[in-house]
């Protein structure tokens, strides 16, 4: 345990087949309510594009990007949303007033009002599991291991390796949020 950590996730969309295991596993692990409005992560089922029979379809998993320069952190009036020492963007449920400004400001639709906490809620990168040395629930349960989680400051980590060996992109780089979810 030397030096600061910069946790990140690499998502290989080629491997995703839209099974939604990540979404349900996350809901179980984190006690997210059974509602189509409430989810911490998701898989966007792309439209079937093209003209029969030359069609294609993409599946894109998404979640909070735990941005380095997070817009949600900037707009929160009470600092209920903050970035912790591991780089996880978190919500302090005690301070949240549910003004939903963060939901508006988030470029990724990562936030929602939770009917269990009655505050704004979002992905924590399963900080409680990571603290125990385990992987986030979505990563652990994923059948094709579309998601890879690790410390970017560790050059030997799987995520560092994937980013070295592959071309990658982030979503909406123009917002300047510096997201920490990388797509290959």
């Amino acid at each position: 345990m030397n030096g600061k950590k910069r946790y990140a996730m690499v998502i290989d969309t080629h491997k995703c087949f839209d099974c939604k295991a990540c979404t349900i596993a996350c809901k179980m692990e984190n006690g997210v309510a059974d509602s189509d409005q409430e989810y911490r992560n998701w898989v966007d089922t792309g439209e079937i594009i093209g003209v029969f029979p030359n069609v294609s379809q993409k599946f894109t998993p998404g979640q909070c990007n735990h941005c380095t320069n997070a817009p949600c952190v900037k707009v929160c009036p009470t600092t209920a949303t903050y970035r912790d020492e591991n780089g996880f963007v978190r919500v302090d449920y005690e301070k949240c007033i549910v003004c939903k400004y963060c939901m508006i400001a988030c470029p990724y639709d990562a936030r929602f009002v939770s009917s269990t906490t009655h505050t704004v809620d979002k992905c924590t990168f399963c900080a409680h599991r990571v603290g125990r040395g385990e992987l986030p629930a979505c990563v652990e349960t994923c059948p094709s291991k579309t998601r890879t989680f690790g410390d970017l400051n560790d050059p030997k980590s799987e995520v560092s390796k994937l980013l070295r060996e592959n071309e990658y992109k982030v979503l909406k780089p123009e917002t300047g949020a510096e997201p920490n979810i990388f797509y290959i």
Binding site: K15, F17, D18, C19, K20, A21, T23, I24, A25, K27, M28, E29, D34, S35, D36, I48, I49, G50, V51, F52, P53, V55, S56, Q57, K58, F59, A137, E140, T141, C142, P143, S144, K145, T146
Partner: protein, 728 residues
């Protein structure tokens, strides 16, 4: 519907707002805002406990470790010791953690008080319910002087073996299981060629052709996982619909429904005529190659092009690529049930394609499965004189599986009461009302019974028409026997309870123990506890029972390599291109193509298929899963939809010769113009399925009850439907 549609709660709320406000003013009590799930404290398990067991949501039985806190299941995590599921739990497996807490569960025995299907019940004690079942079964046996007048209906599951044992002890021939709604024709076809039904070595294959099988939506471990994790170099998907598997494939060939046999035969034609087959393998291991060579000549790719609407060039290209990658190429045996009347023949032809390139029992090809042998506690069967001579549908199917039967011919025979009346029905876990084509006939059959008892965990459509419903404990609340999962990497798993039963429910084993008494059977096949049974099952393997308890899995150390020739259990002890067995049954010794029914103008072929969120018709009502997909929609080609004046989300009616359904249209470029599709398990009859009752359309309602005579399998792609717009 807009995304932020009004939820049911909201709708109820707005209609109730005036009255509730009035009540609030009148001070008439505090509303219950959140229905609390039961949170039992269990003494058996300490806090932060992981309990190893296996998933019970579908056929795969993936290894899970249950994270239980204070007697409450938090999550079912993947069991890392369980190689078959490759360290994953799918959406359904995850949602299973909430299954015991479902509000729609059957919580105590129910006895019908109204008419069948009227949904009027009274709560009963187990003593009364079991007594009632025993008396009624015996009454039917006495009245018809035939123990086979009681039919036993079940589907796969670890506890099914107790149900089967009970049926055997009861003395009825008529055990009716699910295979003929599933893969009977497939097993029949492959077994006719290889003498067994092999698995595909997806992990090592370089080239895979899926015909109809939709491995990324109909998940099968480890195949589905290997497909995406390690993956073949090239994946070809032949399917009338652009499935999620097709979305991940290198090529999607939207074949005309039911013509897959023409494609397979043309592949054989190209392999033989272009000398692409493995001559050494064919010479050493096969029988009837010369006959096949002559037989196949009429099935040219040009001929197949007319049948399949896939170009001859494409067929040649695929075949050549397939041969190039051999033996690491697989024409995948998996299925989406059976398609057309050609189905058993299709499966034979597919097996032959694999055999021709020598992709058998080699790495990356088809591989004969292995199975770890388990013991059983035997019982003394009793011979009953008051019994029929044979199964009800005996003689109607060329290769009838005696232990499973054939659903549609069986049901038709019940309705005709020939050759003898069957008047009582014991159902375990299966849901024939939604899973057998032509729902009206199934309901009619159930209504013709003197007595129906259903064992299930929720009020399935079948339970809805029962006289007595016995609630089963879910797979997380009970012990289940050890189960040997065959495959390229075989293993043994089992189940132990992760929580105690939340309601007044029993396991199938306990129910069968009870029924043995109330039916006054002359033999007792259940004279042991289930733990004793498991120990007996694995007694030949040292440390197996402990391994099951502590790791949820047992794998013996000395499993031989799956590869290499292990002989063929066919008549000729070779791979049979020419089947004498078929010939003797009056069938074609080699696959012969019969032209499929043409689709008249204005009609569509109705196709079926699965979804990664649902297991057959059993999980659509589950919390969390239903939230992902709340209703089914009709896939309709954009061009055809335009002609019919149907837009996306319009309400449409689908009508076949046997039934109809109303659901929303999903207008897409991802389906053939002559084909429509919807996911099954919706449009439920049962009001106990609160999330699917009357929502969407039922597949069983629309499907016509065709079946194929070789294996007795139901034919799912032989139904023609009309589609009309109901409203925007």
């Amino acid at each position: 519907m807009p995304y932020n549609k009004i939820t049911r709660r909201k709708f109820l709320k707005s209609s109730a707002i005036a009255s509730s406000l009035f009540l609030a003013f009148a001070g008439a009590g505090i509303p219950v805002l959140f229905s609390d799930e039961p949170k039992e404290q269990l003494s058996n398990f300490s806090a932060n406990n992981y309990i190893y067991t296996s998933c019970g949501i579908c056929v795969n039985k993936c290894g899970v470790k249950a994270h239980v806190e204070g007697g409450h299941i938090i999550r079912l995590e993947p069991n890392p010791h369980f190689p078959k599921s490759r360290g994953m739990v799918c959406a359904r497996g995850n949602a299973g953690a909430r299954l015991p807490y479902s509000a729609d569960r059957l919580k105590f025995p129910l006895i019908r008080v109204g008419e069948r299907g009227e949904n009027k019940w009274r709560k009963a004690s187990w003593e009364e319910a079991l007594q009632m079942v025993g008396e009624n079964l015996n009454k039917v046996v006495e009245k018809y002087e035939n123990r086979s007048a009681v039919m036993f209906v079940s589907t796969e599951g670890f506890q099914e073996e107790f149900f089967k044992t009970f049926a055997e002890a009861f003395g009825s021939y008529n055990l009716l299981r699910h295979p003929t709604l599933c893969l009977s024709s497939n097993i029949q076809g492959f077994s006719a060629v290889f003498g067994n039904y092999p698995d595909a070595d997806v992990k090592n294959a370089k080239y895979i052709i899926f015909t109809g099988s939709n491995r990324l939506e109909a998940l099968i471990t480890p195949d589905s996982i290997d497909l995406m994790k390690t993956g073949p170099k090239k994946l070809v998907v032949i399917d009338p619909r652009f499935t999620k598997t097709a979305a991940k494939a290198n090529e999607w060939l939207p074949i005309k429904v039911g013509t897959d046999l023409a494609f397979a035969l043309a592949m054989i034609h190209v392999l033989i005529n272009e000398n692409l087959y493995n001559k050494q393998f064919v010479e050493e291991n096969t029988f009837g190659f010369e006959e096949l060579k002559i037989h196949i000549q009429k099935y040219t790719p040009e001929w197949a092009e007319i049948e399949t609407e896939i170009s001859a060039d494409k067929i040649r290209q695929i075949t050549r690529e397939f041969a190039e990658n051999a033996p690491k190429s697989v024409y995948y045996p998996g299925r989406r049930s059976s398609f057309s009347k050609n189905d058993a023949e299709l499966r034979r032809a597919m097996a032959m394609v694999n055999a021709l390139v020598g992709a058998y029992n080699v790495e990356g090809g088809l591989v004969q499965t292995q199975k770890i042998k388990l013991n059983k506690i035997e019982f003394e069967p009793v011979w009953y004189d008051n019994n029929a001579d044979d199964r009800l549908e005996a003689g109607k199917v060329k290769f009838l599986a005696e232990s499973s039967g054939a659903w549609i011919p069986f049901r038709n025979a019940v309705l005709e009461e020939k050759p003898y009346p069957v008047k009582a029905m014991m159902v375990y876990k299966q849901n024939p009302v939604e899973s057998v084509p032509n729902r009206k006939k199934t309901i009619q059959m159930m209504k013709s019974m003197d007595f129906v008892c259903v064992i299930d965990i929720e009020m399935s459509d079948t339970a809805y028409y029962a006289d007595v419903i016995l609630p089963e404990s879910t797979y997380l609340e009970r012990w289940d026997p050890a189960h040997s999962l065959s495959g390229i990497e075989p293993l043994v798993t089992f189940r132990q309870p992760v929580i105690q039963p939340l309601h007044d429910t029993k396991s199938c084993f306990e129910i069968m123990q009870g029924l043995t008494k109330t039916c006054n059977l002359e033999t007792n096949p259940f004279d042991y506890t289930i733990q004793e049974y498991i120990q007996k099952q694995v007694e030949d393997y040292e440390g197996a029972y402990e391994s099951l308890l502590n790791k949820g899995v047992y794998i013996p150390k000395n499993i031989p390599s799956p590869y290499g020739n292990r002989g063929f259990k066919t008549q000729t002890k070779k791979i049979e291109f020419y089947s004498d067995k078929y010939k003797r049954k009056g069938l074609n010794p080699m696959p012969v193509y019969e032209t499929v029914t043409e689709i008249p103008e204005g009609k569509f072929k109705f196709t079926v298929g699965r979804h990664a969120f649902f297991t057959h018709s059993s999980t659509q009502n589950m919390d969390y899963l239903n939230t992902i997909m709340k209703e089914n929609v009709l896939w309709l080609n954009t061009e055809k939809a335009k002609n019919l004046g149907i837009k996306n989300n319009d309400l449409v009616k689908v009508k076949s010769s046997v039934g109809e359904g109303i659901l929303k249209a999903f207008v897409t470029q991802g389906i053939r113009t002559d084909t429509v599709f919807f996911v099954h398990g919706f449009g439920s009859k049962s009001k106990g399925l609160t999330k699917t009752h009357g929502i969407g359309a039922s597949e069983a309602e629309i499907l016509e009850d065709h079946w194929e005579p070789i294996s007795g399998n139901a034919l799912m792609h032989e139904t023609l439907v009309e589609v009309t717009k109901v409203r925007s």
